[in-house]
């Protein structure tokens, strides 16, 4: 019961505070799930985020659904998805059926404008955390090279992230012995 209450609270907050669409809620989800409730570590969160990116559909419901499932199976999944989505859908229905004109809602724009940089800051911190983590595994030089390569592929050549992650997924899982030997060799040197 406690678990379900925690799931509900965590994803209710994520849903109600994620101004700027689904992607804006990624750092909020990370804060709740990794830092606050410690349901998973940052590595696993990164893996799931990557997987979610290779699959179609909204990110901000896939993550809660998966995490809910991890914490409390099917019921947890339903709980987390509903906590993320239903409150804002209700808000939307209530506002659209009660306001005669959308214009009456303009003041909200001022409020949400102040949230955009906060979300940006959280996103930047998360970026840094992932870069640091990558560097801990690969070393800073390799990491910087990787970052530049991926930046070029994703931003300059506009290759879809789903494809990039999909290819990495296949590479990482299918190139078996060679890489492992290399890992051992590096271990021997140390």
């Amino acid at each position: 019961m406690r678990k379900h209450w925690n799931l509900f609270v965590a994803f209710f907050r994520v849903g109600m505070l994620g101004f700027g669409g689904g992607p804006a809620s990624i750092p909020l989800i990370q804060k709740e799930v990794v830092d606050h409730y410690k349901w998973m570590d940052n590595e696993e969160f990164g893996d799931i985020l990557a997987l979610a990116n290779t699959l179609p559909g909204p990110i901000a419901t896939k993550l809660p659904g998966y995490i809910g499932y991890r914490v409390a199976r099917t019921l947890g999944m339903i709980n987390a998805v509903l906590a993320t989505t239903v409150p804002t859908i209700l808000l939307m229905i209530v506002l659209l059926t009660s306001l005669s004109q959308i214009r009456e809602f303009d003041w909200v724009q001022g409020m949400t404008a102040a949230v955009v940089p906060v979300v940006g800051m959280m996103m930047a911190v998360l970026t840094w955390q992932f870069a640091e983590k990558a560097a801990a595994g690969l070393g800073w030089i390799k990491t910087c090279i990787f970052l530049v390569i991926f930046f070029i592929i994703l931003q300059m050549l506009q290759v879809h992230p789903g494809i990039v992650i999909g290819v990495l997924l296949i590479l990482a899982l299918s190139l078996p012995a060679r890489k492992r030997n290399k890992g051992n060799k590096e271990g021997d040197h140390l």
């Binding site: 559909g57 901000a60 896939k62 993320t84 939307m92 955009v116 940089p117 906060v118």
Partner: protein, 175 residues
Amino acid sequence: MIYIDIFIAFFIPGILGYGGGPASIPLIENEVVIRYGWMTVQEFSEILALGNSLPGPIATKMAGYIGYEVGGVFGAIVGLFATVAPSLILLIFLGGLLLKYKDSPKVKRLTLFVQPVIAILLGVMAWRFFSESYEGIGIWQTVLLVGVSFLLIERLKIHPALVIAGALIYGGFLL
């Protein structure tokens, strides 16, 4: 059966919309406005504008509201289900596999490979939020809000919910 139509209208964007919720908006518009003619482009863009200023994922807000418009409460449930369920089921299946083999060197390697990609994706998103903010409220407000929120969330470890609530109040009065 209107519910089948609602299901299809949101199932297709959910399964074809690569790149998260915002990427599926044009696909939803295509189904809702062009294929089924449930609303005009004007109405759709007004709903979208309101949806964008409210918190939470955009694709499910659109599905929930349009489902409700077209088919009442059950319509909203069908729209939400069609948007969320297909790719969520896939993720749970794949994520389960990953978790099962999480100690295998291959999965460890995957984690290592994927981290720089995630860093780039998040970094680009951060940049987009900063530039949106710069265009919207100017450099000084942006710097101020970034600085103060960094201090509160990352240094003083105050829960982001409180900080965002604070930012909303600040924005409501001063922006």
